[in-house]
């Protein structure tokens, strides 16, 4: 038995924001009361901390199978735990691609053996993520996928996307899309604008994202499917989402901490830890993301944790793979940039990290209630700390936030009643 005492419990699902003790027995929440005394229970002193329903990251690349040089389920989930996440969605662009039930089952089996947080696999939308025909989505659903996506290899073909949406609507699965129009992406390596012009780096225009966002909203309206738009980065993309939501389209979206924090002008000395896809956008885009997070257009914060081996990343900017790691800095950035600046409340922060991600996937989690699985994220909004990437639990080091100071830190991560991470 574990007794969490003295914490501020924030559970948006039950509209609770008050001091509560939480008693956990057999991996489940057995009591939530103002004061609980329990002889024999292990006591966790949560005074000064927020106790939230376990965070779920909708967008993580665990790289296993096939990319274990950069990350594994073991190391990726440890990084997740250190960032306050109790569950992650693993993207299907592994080797082999998670496009069939056998791969899904093997990922889940590895996650049970080596993972410290819950892993929800996302299946490939098309076979091999090749963008030609549908993968075996129903079989993967039975094996345990929670959504489909061709993340990393965006679905350029509108007819295929419509087919994926039609099918997933009947299966009750959300379709996640990395919105990117290949002909506009070209050989781009950063946001197209004054800064790419100055640096002489090939640009990726905002329209490259905004065209498929609009297309996806139109197709979701036509098919009735639930489309979840991954890591949106531009002002125009959010405008389309806002409009589609007003019209009742089943569209949700996520934004990453690096996109709501950094801008193209922050790219320094051609350092590849600033290279990711979608790229860091312009100041007006970054500001629009902050606004969208505050006004509710954005449903979730997801990291797009994309580990790459240091050798792969320590090359010329043009040649470096896209992606940054983000699991351990997400909460610090969100508290610093969103809560401490007064843009959102702590309740809204918990919604973005926990309540909404669970809802987007239709999972019965992301709430603190008696009998629910005891997945909890404990954080201290005032705790000051410095991120040192060399101390990361991840195998990779590709973070633009090395050496950043944060106010607000994950303190303990509890999965099924077990403390799997505790800040020293």
């Amino acid at each position: 038995m574990l007794l969490i005492k003295g914490g501020r419990v924030i559970d948006p699902a039950s509209k609770l924001d008050d001091g509560r003790d939480i008693l956990i027995a057999d991996g489940r929440i057995s009591a939530i009361e103002k004061k609980i005394e329990k002889v024999g229970a292990e006591i966790f002193d949560a005074s000064g901390m927020v106790v939230a329903p376990g965070f779920l990251d909708l967008h993580v690349h665990l790289r296993e199978p096939g990319g274990e040089g950069a990350e594994s389920i073991a190391t990726g989930t440890r990084a997740a735990a250190a960032g306050g996440f109790t569950a992650v969605c693993s993207m299907p662009n592994t080797q082999p691609v998670n496009d069939n039930a056998a791969v899904t089952a093997s990922i889940l089996s590895r996650a049970r053996e080596t993972g410290v947080v819950t892993v929800y696999p996302v299946g490939a939308a098309s076979s091999g993520s090749a963008g030609e025909e549908l993968s075996s989505i129903a079989a993967m659903k039975r094996a345990g996928i929670v959504a489909v996506s061709d993340d990393g290899r965006p679905i350029a073909n509108a007819r295929l996307m419509r087919g994926v949406m039609e099918y997933c609507r009947t299966l009750g699965l959300p379709v996640i899309d990395h919105c990117e129009e290949p002909s506009l992406f070209g050989e781009g390596v950063m946001h197209e604008g004054a800064h790419s012009t100055r640096l002489g780096l090939r640009g990726i225009p905002a329209a490259c994202e905004e065209i498929p966002v609009a297309r996806n909203c139109i197709l979701a309206r036509e098919t009735g499917a639930h489309i979840h738009l991954a890591h949106l980065s531009t002002c125009g993309a959010l405008e389309s989402v806002r409009l589609a939501k007003q019209r009742g389209v089943r569209v949700t979206c996520e934004v990453t901490p690096h996109h709501f924090t950094l801008m193209d002008e922050d790219i320094r000395d051609y350092r590849t830890c600033y290279k990711m896809n979608p790229p860091l956008r312009g100041r007006e885009d970054r500001d629009a993301l902050l606004e969208g997070i505050a006004d509710g257009t954005v449903d979730a914060i997801a990291t797009d944790h994309a580990p790459h081996h240091p050798v792969a990343k320590e090359v010329e900017f043009d040649l470096a793979p896209f992606g940054v790691i983000g699991l351990e800095t997400a909460l610090g950035l969100a508290l610093d940039r969103l809560v401490h600046t007064g843009k959102i409340s702590l309740t809204r922060l918990v919604e973005l990290f926990s309540t909404h991600p669970a809802k987007i996937l239709g999972l019965d989690r992301g709430k603190i209630q008696v009998a629910a699985t005891a997945d909890l994220t404990l954080f201290d909004p005032a705790r000051e700390w410095t991120y040192r990437v060399e101390q990361s639990e991840s195998k990779s080091r590709n973070s633009p936030f090395d050496g950043w100071k944060f106010r607000g830190a994950p303190m303990a991560t509890i999965v099924a009643g077990k403390i799997i991470y505790q800040r020293k």
Binding site: A194, S196, G200, Y270, E314, E316, F317
Partner: protein
């Protein structure tokens, strides 16, 4: 007043340099111009020094110019030319250069197709790095030799009207020239079809104008610079070359709009009949060959300033 010395031990581009530093380089280059006229052209200034020339993009001209500049200063050169990317051979750029650095050169001249590669490489090497052209980013020695040529003819770099015409988007020469001329307070008009001249260039530096009409760009120009149409880099380009030749080629009749004493420049190699008409290229206003000669002086100046003993002492 020219600076007493350069503040950075590398030359990454024109953008980070101050006017005083640019003047120092140009004045030093000026003093080296005379060397080429002497019967014995070799100095002993960099005797005992070794310059590594690493060219990962084909460029006979810049390579020859740097090589001769180093040798005229008495330095030895290690030429290293690699046509394809080093990655295709399984060796990373850093490994290639660390291997070459083990031969103990005193400086590296780098030409590479990736923008920012000089900055990247400098983080891994101990020796000064001179950018001889990086991707679409900068080609600082080209802008400096252009500036020396302009100054020789116009006696100043301030208050001039300069038209740069061509595929600006893919031109590191244009970027470096814009930075340099804007620092000195000249007004640069960039000209080309919209596909080759995105609106973002207007914010590259102060006093930059964009024009999609050649006649407008050439009006009252003191200096007209044609950029090379890089047919080798045209994969994916949607603007037709013959349309460009009709609408943007520098011809004698179009150049009537420029000032009568305007000089005509080209970084070479020229595509005669494409971006420039032969009559103009060979005409009295053309300074194309002077540019080449001045390239030598400018590169000598930089090697002297960055590898010379005064700088090596600290």
């Amino acid at each position: 007043m020219p600076a007493a010395r350069l503040s950075c031990r590398h030359l990454f581009g024109i953008e980070p340099l101050s006017i005083e530093e640019l003047e120092l380089i140009l004045d030093t280059a000026k003093s080296f111009q005379k060397v080429h006229e002497q019967p014995l052209k070799k100095l002993a200034t960099l005797r005992g020094k070794t310059v590594l020339l690493a060219f990962f993009e084909a460029s006979t001209r810049t390579m020859t110019s740097f090589s001769l500049a180093a040798q005229r200063l008495g330095a030895d050169v290690i030429p290293f030319v690699s046509s394809g990317s080093s990655v295709s051979k399984g060796e990373s750029l850093t490994d290639t250069l660390l291997t070459l650095e083990a031969l103990k050169p005193d400086g590296l001249v780098l030409r590479h197709a990736a923008s920012g590669s000089p900055e990247f490489v400098a983080r891994h090497l101990k020796i000064p790095v001179i950018n001889a052209g990086d991707g679409l980013h900068e080609h600082p020695t080209q802008a400096l030799l252009d500036a020396l040529t302009i100054r020789d003819h116009k006696a100043r770099l301030t208050g001039l009207k300069v038209a740069i015409v061509g595929d600006v988007q893919h031109s590191r020469v244009a970027r470096s020239n814009v930075h340099l001329l804007a620092k000195f307070g000249s007004q640069v008009t960039l000209c080309g079809p919209p596909s080759w001249l995105p609106p973002f260039f207007a914010s590259l530096a102060p006093n930059v104008r964009l024009s999609h009409r050649l006649d407008e760009a050439l009006t009252d120009a003191d200096v007209v610079m044609a950029l090379r149409v890089q047919s080798e880099r045209r994969a994916g380009d949607i603007f037709p070359v013959d349309e460009y030749a009709r609408e943007f080629q520098l011809t004698r009749s179009r150049l009537k709009r420029a000032k009568p004493d305007a000089i005509i420049m080209h970084p070479g190699p020229m595509n005669r009949g494409l971006e420039i008409d032969s009559e103009v290229a060979d005409g009295t206003q053309s300074v194309v060959l002077e540019q080449v000669t001045n390239g030598l002086a400018v590169r000598m100046a930089l090697l002297f300033l960055l590898l010379g003993s005064t700088h090596a002492a600290d």
